[in-house]
Amino acid sequence: MNGREPVVGCEEVERLLFELRDGVLEGVAAESVRSHLAGCPSCRGAQAWDVRLHDLLHDEVLPEPPPGLAAAVSRRVRRRRRIRAALVGAAAALLLAGAGVAWRLRTEPGAAVVDAKTTSAPGNGDDLPESLVLFQPPPVDSLDVLSRQHSGYVAVLQTLGKE
């Protein structure tokens, strides 16, 4: 080792072996590693192991990908696309249904309203006016919309289940 070469330890040399092999270690750094290797049996052993490991692993025969891989990828992509579309559709339908119900409640103030004065008065119930509505079911046409949406979800889920 001459005076210009930095002193490197075994741990550093073991890491630099990768770069030495890659051919990216040049100049003074490469020289210092080579000098270290010349005088260090332990690091020479590590270098020999590196070469042999490369030979063993590089020559290993691993299975080839199955011929249907591209088709499997295509199926998976399409399935994901359909699921995403179904989820977006379901979310949009739920939003619309919620907006519809909210709009109905606003335009029909009598629905689902409890008279605060009546409920705050304790009693046996005989004094409740006949016209008071504690709960009113949603209008028939709203139920029809909800029913058709439900059928739509079931159809989508059945389609997905068949695939």
Partner: protein, 180 residues
Amino acid sequence: LDDPNELLRRCQRGDESALAGLVHRFGGRVFRLAYRVLGDAGRAEEASSDAFAKIWSAAGQWRGEADAGTWAYRVAYHTVLDHRRRRDPRPRLPPPLDLPDPRPGPLEQSLRSEGRQRVHEALGQLAEADRALLHLYYFEQLGLAEIAAIVGATREVLKMRLARARHKLRTLLGDDEESA
């Protein structure tokens, strides 16, 4: 056109035939990595097809800073490791190795007829991330810069991890510095 960058650009535009081109170009690499990490051809196929589906759905995130092949391989690398964790959070370890008599040199024995099998078994005892690193470096012969980009580590950290994995493998095979 088989240029990975062009294929990935076409994927960004929704061209499914470009995805098939990527599978044709990188399917072997991705499948071999999955096989190395998962140790089973069926699971490797599932992980590989999942990886390419993710490459398809994440294609819009590619901005061209990295080569398309490296970028795709990075997505595949993380998908494969996710599959390993999801399916088998605690890796099954094969039975301990029947270590050879050190006098003739265990490393030399490893190089004989059963050598490759022993290395394969020893690799099976490493953590999946270490196994993947050794595979990328020694089997696929990728450079340090590319592996660093794939695994998302700095070059220095990568060298440290590779050296550690290599050392563990050597220890598992019963070879130490003195016997080499």
